[in-house]
Symmetry: C2
């Protein structure tokens, strides 16, 4: 295996390629050229080849890639050939939407524990999971072997919840709040401020930053 | 102005810096060194300086950056010194959560039109906006000067809705569905598959791709 550091943009594209390959599998297409993947997802075919080259040789010259084989390679690379146990803290509007979002489970992320502090929510069900009090966080993380935490609490509680998730032993945290959070070095933190994506759009629409 | 192409990762970090500066403004901090910004958001200080250098000279050697001045510069660069009109198509669970998400309006994105095809939803209110039938899409985009569309419909309707948004004149589209969408070259499309972020996490947790 090559020892290159894989750029995050490459990993993101692998995720997109894998979805596109899944679409192709549904359409019962067996083989595909890098140029067709490129057109399908809107990048250059050189980019597709470069991204895949990080992980070895997949295609056959003149034939292209076997759709199913490439798909399962990509899923393995992305760590999606297993099921991940996920805890969601904060069952408000955004938290509920995430818990109900099919896309997570489709890709192997199983939200098995949902916590809140709101007495009106505790005891009710969200996508089949009973919402529990945050007090049980540590116990649930241990008994369910939870590795990933989603933080969807109000911004002011975000650091506190994050500290508790870290103490309880999760390895990765997705922060959906606009708060900048601090975690120890061994924890992988990703910020999914939803408006960042809108801001990338507004930046690119370029109404204001004219060169 | 320099004519470099700005890397997307830089734009994302500018967005994060701007939030952090906003936190500092709330704490009434006037000036800050690049090293403190770096520690606050978890990148190297060389990275902070490099990111900001794309857009000219902001700081003063030995003094650092004026928090408020840098903040307003960044907001201008990000295209956030104006209010954007946004249409949301698909008022299901995810769409409702997005419509209710304060983070958008806080950064200047105003969801002024919400459409759906579900008769049970049409006529009800979402965050003060009456949900209307998709038939009015073209009219609303024109009368509200809408530039950005959020697509939160089921995957199978996503391309169709996108085509209609493009025909109606939006310039940018955020696709929240797992579907790979096609748009003409002049349209800026971003995919916000929420599970991509989880996949970047699972990739980095590195349980399966061991070098």
């Amino acid at each position: 295996m090559k020892a290159y550091k894989i750029p995050e943009a490459t990993v993101m594209r692998l995720s997109i390629y894998s979805r596109y390959l899944h679409q192709l599998m549904e359409e019962e297409i067996d083989t595909i050229a890098s140029g067709d993947i490129a057109r399908g997802v809107g990048v250059s075919s050189a980019q597709v080849r470069k991204d895949l080259a990080y992980f070895g040789e997949f295609g056959t010259r003149g034939v292209g890639y076997k759709v199913e084989e490439l798909y399962s390679h990509l899923m393995k690379i992305l760590g999606l050939d297993k099921r991940w146990s996920v805890i969601l803290v904060g069952a408000g509007k955004l938290g509920s939407a995430l818990a109900l979002y099919h896309g997570f489970l489709d890709r192997g992320f199983h939200i098995c524990t949902v916590l809140d502090i709101d007495e009106k929510l505790i005891g009710t069900k969200l996508n089949g999971v009973i919402i529990e009090n945050v007090d049980v966080m540590n116990a649930r993380i241990i008994e369910n072997n939870i590795e990933i935490g989603l933080v969807t609490v109000p911004a002011l509680s975000a650091q506190n919840v994050t500290d508790r998730l870290v103490e309880s032993g999760v390895s990765g945290i997705l922060n959906f709040t606009p708060r900048v959070l601090k975690v120890p070095n061994h924890i992988i933190l990703r910020n999914v401020d939803l408006s960042v994506n809108l801001e990338l759009l507004s930046f690119n629409l370029g109404y204001h930053y004219k060169r």
